[in-house]
């Protein structure tokens, strides 16, 4: 079994002490080691934000892209080489403001990969601006009189877009988070994990404390059936999205499958002269 530290490149994160993002990084490293994903087969793709720095702390392959576009990049990687384990991650702004369209289109494509939203309901990197996931009334540098618009509900939106896997975690619940990420990576298809990851510097409302009080743990409810879409919808509505655990998984998901068994990047690509002539003749 590979060790967790094998997945760390020993770079000291730029995150503030206590930032929720540390726990996500570690959870991903633990999950990778438990799944024994070879370092060279793991690609961590990230967006821009405090969250986006994650890929720079993994000793796997890492692609730190541009703001809001981690998912298009990640999908391209997976389609190019299906042998790779692709895990994209990014902030709530990255995935639900500038990247919202990509997030929902990635969901409906159901390509076999994992997306971890490092959700602190605020823009950390730009030093405290509102996010589409900020609560109404949330005061930030850009909403000095409090946020007006009703927040995006990531869970409901994800399910409405036809997600085949949706789970939620909390930075303070490390072990649950590891288990969820493992399930997400194992899921065949696109898996989205929304992690409540407190920003200790710019979000003084949705704190560790606050989440501990609010979050309902679905795993603790024996009757909860994560394969029931309608039930998942209702749970999200009833808890106002504030629950952790596997919320929904479609059992028969297979992931978008392209025609070939060999990964694209390893195909024999040579086209013979005969074949070329056939192609040319179509133009006569």
């Amino acid at each position: 079994m590979s060790a967790t530290k094998d997945y760390s490149n020993n770079v000291n994160p730029t995150w503030c002490p206590g930032c929720g993002h540390f726990s996500i990084l570690r959870a991903l490293q633990i999950a990778a080691s438990r799944l024994e994903i070879p370092k060279e087969s793991l690609v961590s793709v990230s967006g821009i934000g405090c969250s986006g720095r994650l890929s720079g702390y993994m000793s796997s392959y890492g692609f730190h892209g541009i703001h809001g576009r981690s998912l298009p990049i990640a999908q391209g990687i997976k389609l190019s080489n299906k042998d790779l384990t692709v895990v994209a991650s990014g902030g709530d702004g990255d995935g639900f403001a500038i990247g919202l369209s990509h997030t929902l289109h990635a969901i409906r494509r159901n390509i076999d990969m994992t997306y971890v939203v490092m959700n602190n309901q605020v823009y950390g990197l730009t030093k405290g601006h509102t996010s589409p996931l900020s609560d109404v009334g949330f005061v930030t540098k850009s909403t000095p009189y409090g946020a007006i618009d009703s927040p995006i509900r990531p869970g409901i939106l994800t399910l409405s877009s036809g997600a085949t896997f949706f789970a939620q975690g909390f930075s303070a619940f490390q072990e649950e988070l590891v288990e969820i990420i493992i399930k997400a990576i194992q899921h065949k298809g696109f898996s989205l994990v929304n992690v409540f990851s407190p920003c200790v510097t710019y979000n003084k409302v949705n704190t560790y404390q606050w989440f501990r009080h609010q979050l309902v743990n679905l795993q603790e409810d024996e009757n909860y059936n994560p394969n029931d879409l309608q039930g998942a919808f209702n749970t999200l509505l009833n808890t106002n999205g504030l629950c952790t655990g596997l919320v929904y998984q479609r059992v028969d998901s297979e992931g978008r499958s392209e025609t070939n068994d060999t990964p694209l990047s390893k195909l024999d690509l040579k086209i013979t002269e005969e074949e070329f002539n056939r192609l040319m003749n179509a133009f006569k």
Partner: protein
């Protein structure tokens, strides 16, 4: 008897006049003529007048002459809208169901195209009848058409073939009461050649260059590339995806390319503007990226079905910050094919974005082409390694500025890439010395290209004037120069970025005057060259920006004022 001829066919969009024209071009190409076709579009989706003008010749000519020999009309708008493009002794043919507006000054005659089609089984064959009439006038043997009908409808119901053959027979038996012998086309070399549009050649080039991934968003005049590859890539194990927008397209292609698959996207102006951030990312992460920009009239939505060459500025200078990229400018359909292969090689070799700069005329005008050569050995993947090594430096400082590259999946090659400024390991770095070195490294990479010979010249040694152009204009400039008795040297520039500085300097030192001909408002290529090399007093510029390509005579007229 002639050895070249120009025919304008017009009718209601969606009723098949363009495909009839293209079929005629295919037939002529099979007989050993070079053809070139130019389409006009109606602003309506269906309905409204559209035309195809085609030129056939024993010589390869990549443009439409100013005047046509024949106009054939399937609707009432074709003749009035195009009569100024008919030669003085030109011939007007029109469907006999149309009203005779009496173009008295011209030879004109009605032809029972709709009527024959109806008799043979269906009015939808009226364009085929038109094509056959022209074929007959040009002196094409009926058997040739019979064969191609059989071939074309091989997979369709027998009745379709019978009906078409019947129509053909009626056309060839109809007596035409007009002198037409002078329009018989002769001299074809009998060598059968393919007919292609630029977009098809680009797509085919990508396939042969071992590109197996495309992500794109539809846009005129680039969509045919995704359509062709959407059809073919899955057959060769590849993927073509229409995605949510151009931003997704360019970033997916970056991802696919990063992971090792040669990948492409294609767009036009509006999509290009949206891709600017992604292009910068590819260059900063040194990821190979191939993009086709098929230009149309801008700015903004502009005139989506009209021709222009106005994206040079934004490709050469666009995108925030500064990063290397390469711009190739094919001038013919053959170029489209070879340049696309080259684009993939350059992208791998220099680990940066390569743009294939096309324009509406080049992308969409069908041309008879010379056989494309098959070559076993066309792939150069640059410094791509199949092994890593500890602390792999994907951005190491090297003599030529190019670092070794490994693909994800390679043991021991694990590394990080980022759009932030980074050190040799690919980790973010704020250090100012590193920053300067990284900038130098990235730009050093493509410097060798500046010394290549990338201006294709035709020397007539007549005058001290050089006409320089790019893209689809080249065929028009060539024709203009030939019409003018070959008294100018002329050429086209194949690589716009980086400019082939050494060669350009030589040329600018040699010639008294360099006239740059382009389809845009500012004379963008001229200004780019001046900005980089100076020589403002030697360079003048002919530009047109009304949405239509130059005609050879327009160029000659403008030249008159300059020389």
């Amino acid at each position: 008897m002639v050895n070249n001829i120009t025919i304008l066919m017009g009718g209601i969009q969606g009723e098949g006049v363009v495909s009839a024209g293209i079929n005629l071009m295919k037939t002529l190409s099979k007989l050993g003529y070079y053809t070139y076709g130019c389409r006009s579009f109606s602003s309506r989706i269906k309905g409204g007048n559209n035309t195809i003008t085609l030129h056939a010749s024993t010589e390869k000519i990549l443009c439409i002459p100013d005047k046509s020999d024949i106009i054939i009309a399937f609707d009432d708008e074709t003749i009035p809208q195009n009569i100024d493009k008919l030669k003085e002794d030109g011939l007007i043919l029109y469907d006999s169901t149309l009203k005779d507006d009496g173009y008295k000054d011209y030879k004109s005659t009605p032809l029972p195209m709709t009527e024959i089609a109806k008799t043979a089984g269906s009015t939808i064959m009226k364009n085929t009848c038109g094509m056959a009439f022209i074929g007959r006038i040009l002196g094409i043997d009926r058997l040739i058409f019979e064969e191609s009908i059989k071939e074309k409808y091989a997979k369709k119901a027998d009745s379709i073939i019978t009906q078409n053959l019947k129509a053909l027979e009626l056309v060839y038996n109809h007596s035409i009461d007009i002198q037409m012998d002078h329009l018989i086309l002769t001299g074809g070399d009998g060598f059968s050649r393919p007919l292609m549009i630029g977009n098809e050649a680009i797509a085919l080039g990508a396939l042969m260059a071992e590109c197996r991934f495309m992500a794109a968003y539809p846009i005129t005049p680039a969509s045919e590339i995704m359509e062709y590859l959407g059809n073919l890539l899955p057959r060769y194990g590849g993927v073509m995806m229409q995605v949510e927008d151009e931003i997704a397209a360019v970033n997916m292609v970056i991802g696919a390319s990063y992971a090792g698959t040669r990948a492409i996207t294609a767009t036009s102006g509006p999509g290009l503007s949206l891709m600017q951030e992604g292009i910068g990312l590819a260059s900063m992460t040194e990821t190979p990226l191939v993009i086709v920009d098929s230009q149309r009239v801008g700015p903004s939505t502009g005139l989506p079905t009209k021709h222009e060459q106005s994206d040079l500025y934004s490709l050469y200078y666009g995108g925030h910050g500064e990063y290397p990229s390469i711009i190739l400018a094919p001038a013919s359909v053959e170029d489209c094919y070879y340049d696309t292969i080259r684009a993939f090689n350059l992208a791998d070799e220099y680990q940066c974005p390569v743009i294939i700069l096309s324009d509406l005329s080049l992308s969409l005008s069908p041309q008879t082409i010379d056989p494309l050569t098959y070559n076993e050995d066309i792939i150069n993947r640059g410094k791509l390694m199949d092994k890593g090594r500890e602390n792999f430096e994907a951005f190491s400082f090297t003599e030529d500025g190019i670092s070794q590259r490994v693909l994800p999946g390679t043991v021991g090659g694990e590394h990080h890439v980022t759009g932030l400024e980074h050190n040799q390991l690919g980790l973010p770095s704020n250090d100012s010395v590193n920053r300067r070195k990284m900038m130098d490294k990235r730009f050093k990479k493509i410097q060798p290209l500046e010394s290549l010979q990338e201006v294709c010249l035709t020397k007539n040694h007549k005058e001290s004037v050089l006409l320089l152009t790019f893209g689809s204009n080249y065929g028009i400039v060539k024709e203009a120069v030939e019409l003018a008795g070959n008294k100018y040297d002329y050429g086209y520039i194949k690589v716009i970025k980086p400019l082939p500085k050494d060669q350009l300097k030589d040329l600018l030192d040699t010639y008294k005057k360099v006239i740059i001909i382009e389809n845009n408002f500012h004379g963008q290529l001229a200004k780019i060259i001046i900005g980089q090399l100076g020589y403002k007093d030697k360079i003048s510029s002919i530009h047109k920006y009304d949405g239509s390509p130059f005609t050879p005579f327009e160029i000659l007229e403008e030249l008159g004022g300059l020389i």
